[in-house]
């Protein structure tokens, strides 16, 4: 099962007649493949069986930061990313989804965060398009993007949209949305007037939305109308 080549022995003598070799600690890297994929999930499931609160804490310790880091790629705002992740955990816990899911908790949490992030971008974009009269419909399973690659395509495009901004505007955009800084702070840091920062932000948001809308409107429309 385990590959001995990956073993890393840490041995230390302990004066103990019952174990002549002393304690032995053996470690295999977590990323070694399917065995550990199964094991890490098993540990969390066992924790949930014993005590839900502990299971939840374990999920936060292991996945929270990674989930936030993933969500922020779509929404480019820490606050919104953390809101999305918080909502996913809240639903997972309050509706006791952990009792029902058949895929791994990890797959469930990442998938939920991706769908919610996707929905968020879609809703944001709708605000800035001429399709405002189109009613926002309740999201149904069959209206979701059907392929994995659409998620990656979307956040790569978000990144590209930000990269397309002029240097100064991009810096302001990242400071405000990503680092969560206030306009005042940014103005002080960059020796700009408050008014200039505001204008740059307005332009930046508009530009990013326009970039995404041009590339994604068809996809989002398809999602809405199917």
């Amino acid at each position: 099962m385990k590959k001995s080549a990956h073993f890393n022995h840490i041995t230390k003598k302990e004066p103990d007649e019952h174990s002549p070799e002393g304690p032995v600690f053996v470690r295999t890297p977590l990323t070694a493949g399917k065995l550990t994929e199964y094991e890490s999930e098993l540990i969390i499931r066992k924790a949930f069986e014993a005590d839900t609160a502990n299971g939840i804490e374990l999920l936060f310790r292991w996945y929270y930061a990674a989930l936030c880091s993933h969500a922020v790629r779509y929404v480019s705002s820490r606050e919104i990313a953390e809101d999305i992740v918080s909502d996913v955990f809240y639903q997972f816990h309050s509706e006791e989804i952990f009792r029902k899911v058949e895929i791994s908790y990890r797959a469930y949490l990442f998938t939920s965060v991706r769908y919610r992030a996707f929905d968020y971008v879609r809703a944001e974009m709708k605000r800035s398009t001429s399709l405002q009269q189109a009613e926002y419909m309740a999201i149904r399973e069959d209206q979701q993007p059907d392929s994995l690659t659409q998620f990656e395509d979307l956040y790569h495009d978000v990144l590209r949209a930000i990269h397309e901004l002029p240097v100064k505007r991009r810096e302001i955009y990242i400071k405000h949305r990503f680092e969560g800084k206030k306009y005042q702070e940014i103005a002080r840091e960059m020796s700009l007037s408050l008014r200039t920062v505001e204008t740059h932000m307005y332009q930046a948001i508009h530009q990013v939305r326009k970039f995404l809308t041009d590339r994604w409107l068809v996809v989002f429309l398809a999602c809405l109308l199917i």
Binding site: I10, K12, E14, D16, H18, S19, E21, G22, P23, V24, F25, R27, T28, P29, L30, T36, E37, E39, S40, I43, A47, A50, D51, I56, E57, L58, F60, R61, W62, Y63, Y64, A65, A66, L67, C68, S69, H70, V72, I80, E82, V85, S86, D87, F89, Y90, H93, S94, I103, R106, A107, F110, Y120, A123, Y136, I139, S147, T149, E152, H156, F178
Partner: protein, 334 residues
Amino acid sequence: MIPEIKKEIIFDYLSGTATAFQKRQIEEWATVPENRELFFLWLWEWERNNSQYQADFAAGLSRHLERMERGDLEKPAILLQKERPSYSAWLKKGAIAASLVFLAGLAGWIFRDEIRFQAYSTGNGEIRSVLLPDSSRVVLNANSTLKMPRFGFGKDARVVHLTGEADFEVTSRPDRKRFVVKTDRKLDVVVLGTIFNVYARPGGAKVVLNKGKVQLHYQQGNREKQLTLQPGDLASLDEKGEVNVRKTAHPAVYSAWKFHRFIFENTSLQEIGKKVKESFGVTLVIGSPELATLTISGAFTALNAVELVELLCDASGDLAYSRAGKNKIILTNR
């Protein structure tokens, strides 16, 4: 034909440097459920190595707990669509009422048991020796209960009931009355005079025979089954109700707990956590995923959970622990 995809390709893909052809292949590959699981395992690893920022999990967790406390009043942090009315509050009230009625009934049942049986129990970290009327000796491990009838013990057979773990030293009697250990695990041990260890906790059941002869009675499906153990035999009952027997060279290892000793042999932290929970009622949290595959071998003497964890940390060199409240210890990488 489902293509095979290596981790490196997925990492390229996540970073946005995969070719259009590779993307098509990944799409196909990801239609298989196991591959999807693998994808999320790798996505997790990739996010940890290429994180956009380090979100504070402790802040996230305390926010989550506050939200859970507010319960039904809590609204989603992000609102994209209109909310539907919720009936879950009414359902919850009904459930509470129902469970109160159920608890009242249950209490009556438990009380009946109190009258008929004498019980000996141990708490966290407690080990207790009990001398039975027939001068057999039972040593109870932590968080275990031994029950024996108040009236008529040894009249027909000497019957005791065990939950948890105990070591038995059973006297043999001239009338050869049987000594029976009943467990909740559909496993009974029938003895004639012997030294043995019985483990019957929610996770499973085990019997280790040191000396003498015992018979196991257990149920497989609807059928009663019997099995005779020889000294040095370790019989364990799995979750399907099947009994496996193997030889152990050191049956005394399984009674080491009598002297507050913990003996591990390629034992994972998860199993050690289970032991710590059983013995001391303390929860061991495996704080970082890297520790999931750590296994430990060695013997440690400890009177409480912190002592044991401290020994483990001292011996391993790269294991650290912190306490969180009275009944929780968190293990992390040093």
